[in-house]
């Protein structure tokens, strides 16, 4: 018996199957609101009955940690940007409050907006030059930034140097609440701030902005190709995260009345990050629970009754001579971090998506390989399971479905010659990938580009979509040159694409994937989404309708609520096409759309491509399958070694001597 595999599987099940998280995931929104309200009620009603010390702990570290963790979660959990210097924004908020209330004599309330804004500005200042960096490089730069902020405070006379700033004003009383030395009012203040942060995060999460962040997290290049202003959106994530950090800094400074640089060490950033990851990235209840645990546990251990027994045990274990558990607090904290992550890497209350990601990953012998998406997809696709032998692609598109009006209108305004490439040349170092390629594509045409491997087909697509900037030559879309523009701007100008190896946002639902595309035509940004402005609500309503319509248009309306990763291969192709069309293009670029499809699926694809053309869009496709190309294309260009060697109607091209020699080979086209 494969016992090891068994054990592995067993362990995986214990680790991942999680009734609480699953229950939470299954709860309808209304029930979630009820649970949230109950938690809130306890959070309001309980603390007055606690000791002053417990109240103080609930304010700091617990409350402040929760607020900070929520802020950091926007950056790390939502947008997927690893920030190791988050404490810097906390510090900026606190120092702004300190300086304004002491040297300038403002009241704490007057300082509040500035604390938030300065922290936000700090976020933008840090973000602007560094957000182009990815992953761990961003992490080290943010770490550096955190240290720089601390050291600057330590060395600047106006910031009190190492001695810090004393006498920071408490907030004036509001609605009968006296903000003086007692912790309880500040606890409620923090609670209010946490509530505000949660509302903002939830609202953003269900908006164009939140989807953009998810898209960036899952596949930054694909997001950019779908018209997401990745840079701006990342900057917004930093700005939102940092302003929440600034808010927390304001609360903290105005409560304790004294700050110095030692309040903001690197370790603090690490603690907050640990709270986010421990709780479950991206999940609001998880992050709150994680921050609660990280804030409360060390304080608990400090005075725990079990402390003495534990101390003796640990002393005999480590050979130390420690008198109180206090000294073992951090050791236990470290050990529990390890244990927690080893036994529950997804966090306490993971978001549903992250839990799923983890459940399906995990083969032996690979470092972090994802499972074959198609296999998982096929096995989970409900319809496919029972059918023997003949596989049919999920419902072909009903002919009567039409494009949403907004998209059809855009397509209809395209020029007669939609796309015009003039002498396009692309060199990489010494290698010439494209050499003076000129192609012109008419409106409502299906234009095929074929050629041997390495002939420059995908390079051509990448030049058109702005991934590469061509060395020379011009690209004209609807009469306007688009050479040198960024991918998302080119998407906005009217070019949409799909990728050779499908690049959906795997953890987003099919509907959300299409919505990311739809969002390219919308303009709501953070303020609109947070405030729920009419325009935002209108766009959300229309967008959802259009997205549903598009899913129907490509024939997968039934899968709207499924995560993209769980769709069958053919459906993923369709979804990718729907997502591309959603951006409202006048021209659609398909990169090997039939790769990996069986004949039945290919036939359905041909029908879909024709349908798209008939809706008024122009289609350019790269394909190896000669049958498909000959069948569907109105015109075909052949590339070889970066040069166009033929261009014309399919039959003509197929008969061309040079094409046969360079590409088709001796009549073996199958």
């Amino acid at each position: 018996m494969p016992t090891r595999a068994r054990a592995l599987d067993f362990r995986r099940r214990i680790a991942v199957v999680d009734p609480v998280a699953r229950l939470w995931g299954r709860l309808p929104v209304r029930a979630k609101v009820v649970v949230g309200a109950a938690v809130l009620a306890v959070a309001i009603a309980w603390p007055p009955h606690l000791s002053r010390y417990s109240q103080a702990v609930l304010f700091f570290p617990v409350g402040v940690y929760i607020l900070l963790a929520l802020g950091l979660n926007i950056v790390v959990g939502s947008a997927g940007l690893l920030d190791l210097g988050y404490v810097a924004f906390f510090a900026v908020g606190a120092y702004t409050t300190a300086v304004l209330t002491t040297t300038h004599g403002w009241t704490a309330w007057e300082a509040l907006p500035f604390a938030v804004i300065f922290a936000m500005v700090a976020g933008v200042v840090l973000g602007a030059p560094t957000l182009r960096l990815r992953g761990d490089y961003l992490a080290i730069v943010t770490l550096g930034f955190g240290e720089i902020v601390r050291i600057v405070a330590q060395n600047s006379g106006s910031l009190g140097e190492a001695r810090g700033i004393t006498g920071i004003a408490h907030p004036g009383s509001v609605a009968g609440a006296e903000f003086r030395l007692l912790p309880l009012p500040y606890y409620y203040l923090t609670l209010a701030a946490i509530g505000l942060a949660v509302v903002i995060i939830v609202r953003l999460g269900h908006s164009r902005v939140g989807r953009a962040w998810s898209a960036i997290r899952e596949d930054e290049d694909a997001a950019e190709a779908m018209g997401v202003h990745t840079f701006t959106m990342k900057l917004w994530a930093f700005a939102m995260g940092s302003s929440i950090g600034g808010l927390a800094g304001w609360i903290f400074a105005s409560k304790v009345g004294f700050i110095n640089p030692d309040n903001f060490p690197f370790f603090f950033s690490v603690i907050i990050l640990a709270a986010v990851v421990l709780g479950g990235m991206g999940s609001i209840p998880g992050v709150i629970a994680g921050a609660f645990a990280i804030g409360a546990l060390p304080e608990y251990l400090r005075d725990a009754a079990a402390g003495e027994w534990l101390t003796a045990r640990l002393n005999s274990l480590t050979g130390g001579e420690v008198r109180t558990i206090t000294e073992y607090r951090v050791l236990l904290f470290g050990a529990s971090l390890v244990a927690m992550m080893v036994f529950r890497p997804q966090g306490l209350l993971p978001s549903r998506r992250r839990a799923a990601e983890l459940a399906d990953a995990a083969p032996e012998h690979s470092l972090a390989a994802a499972p074959e998406a198609a296999v998982v997809a096929a096995a989970t696709a409900p319809a496919a399971a029972a059918e023997p032998v003949v596989v049919e692609a999920t419902g072909a598109a009903p002919d009567e479905v039409e494009l949403p009006a907004a998209i059809a209108d855009v397509a209809a305004t395209a020029a007669d010659v939609v796309l015009d490439l003039n002498d396009l040349t692309m060199r990489f170092g010494g290698v010439v990938a494209l050499s003076e390629v000129s192609i012109s594509v008419d409106r409502s045409q299906i234009f095929g580009i074929i050629g041997p491997n390495g002939a420059g087909k995908t390079t051509l697509f990448n030049c058109i979509t702005g991934v590469f900037h061509p060395t020379s030559g011009d690209i004209v879309l609807n009469g306007r040159s688009i050479v040198g523009k960024k991918p998302h701007l080119i998407t906005e100008a009217g070019i949409a694409r799909t990728f050779q190896n499908i690049r959906l946002f795997p953890e987003l639902t099919a509907l959300e994937n299409v919505l990311v595309g739809v969002d390219a035509r919308h303009g709501t940004s953070v303020p609109g989404a947070v405030l729920g402005l009419p325009r935002h609500r209108r766009e959300e309503r229309d967008g959802r309708r259009e997205a549903e319509r598009l899913l129907a248009y490509v024939g997968i309306q039934g899968r709207a609520g499924d995560a993209a990763r769980n769709l069958s291969y053919g459906d993923q192709r369709r979804l990718e096409i729907a997502r591309a069309i959603a951006t409202g293009p006048s021209i659609l670029l398909l990169d090997e759309p039939a790769a990996g499809m069986n004949p039945t699926e290919k036939r359905a694809l041909i029908r879909l491509i024709r349908q798209i053309r008939d809706s008024g869009l122009t289609v350019v496709l790269i394909e190896h399958d000669m049958g498909l190309v000959m069948n569907v294309c109105d015109r075909v260009a052949v590339l070889d070694f970066g040069q166009k060697i033929a261009d014309g109607p399919p039959a003509e091209v197929q008969a061309d001597e040079r094409v046969i020699e360079a590409y088709l080979g001796v009549a073996d086209a199958s």
Partner: protein, 250 residues
């Protein structure tokens, strides 16, 4: 019998990817697995080569059970796998990539040189490119490199996963010729192919997979003529005058 799978089941988390696969490969054969995307073809290969843990069932290679044998051990025992997507080490040169193929073999420099010569004989292109980093090769060259590298291990059984994927028609034919040649030189081959027509033409026997199960098995020739198989998988490509494809005329 070189390889025998009996009722093999494999899970990805809660998802059952292989639902009881049984198949055999005899010495000297080319056996092919065909089926749609997500049918479990690649998973079957990865399970055989030890990359995926088996939930239940048995796998015997040369009569010995290889369930729970890690991938690197299987290579030493003569089972070589050229993975889907080729898996070229982009930062290593062609020679280094090939030498990686002989990583598990004992036999010193002379053995490696001999094997290199054999691979260069099959793929003269690789000789031309031998000091170029693997990442800069074209798709076809990378495929040659992947197959050549798998051969460097001196395998008894060669698992090939989608060798024709993403290749131009002309190259596809060339790759299949080489596969036949490798088999003729004495290596048993288990081939997974999307391009079912080509695969069936070259193989001795074939299995049809669907959603983790084997639904048909027969000689390749018989399946090539089978109407239902034809309808689902053959043609490989759409013929220009495919009646089903011509919906509304453009």
């Amino acid at each position: 019998m070189l390889l025998e799978l009996s009722d093999v089941r494999v899970h990805y988390g809660k998802v059952e990817a292989l639902r009881g696969i049984s198949l055999t490969v005899d010495e000297g054969e080319i056996v092919t697995l065909i089926g749609g995307n997500g049918a479990g073809k690649s998973t079957t290969l990865k399970t055989i080569s030890g990359l995926r843990p088996v939930t239940s069932g048995t796998i015997h290679f040369e009569g010995r059970s290889v369930v729970d044998t890690p991938a690197h051990k299987l290579v030493e025992r003569g089972l070589s796998h050229a993975p889907e997507g080729r898996g070229i080490f982009p930062g290593m040169t062609v020679v280094e990539n090939l030498e990686m193929g002989a990583y598990a073999r004992k036999g010193g420099r002379s053995m490696v040189t001999a094997e290199l010569d054999r691979v260069y004989g099959l793929f003269p292109r690789l000789l031309e490119r031998r000091s170029q980093p693997g990442g800069t090769l074209s798709g076809g060259e990378q495929q040659m490199l992947a197959i050549g590298r798998a051969l460097m291990a001196g395998p008894k059984l060669l698992l090939l996963d989608e060798p024709s994927m993403g290749l131009a028609p002309m190259l596809v034919a060339q790759i299949f010729d080489i596969i036949t040649e490798i088999n003729r030189q004495g290596t048993t081959i288990l081939l997974v192919e999307q391009n079912a027509a080509q695969a069936l033409r070259r193989a001795h026997r074939a299995y049809v997979l669907e959603t983790g199960r084997i639904v048909r098995s027969d000689t390749a020739a018989a399946l090539l003529d089978d109407e239902s198989v034809k309808a689902a998988y053959l043609g490989g490509d759409i013929s220009p005058d495919d009646p089903e494809a011509s919906g509304t005329p453009g």
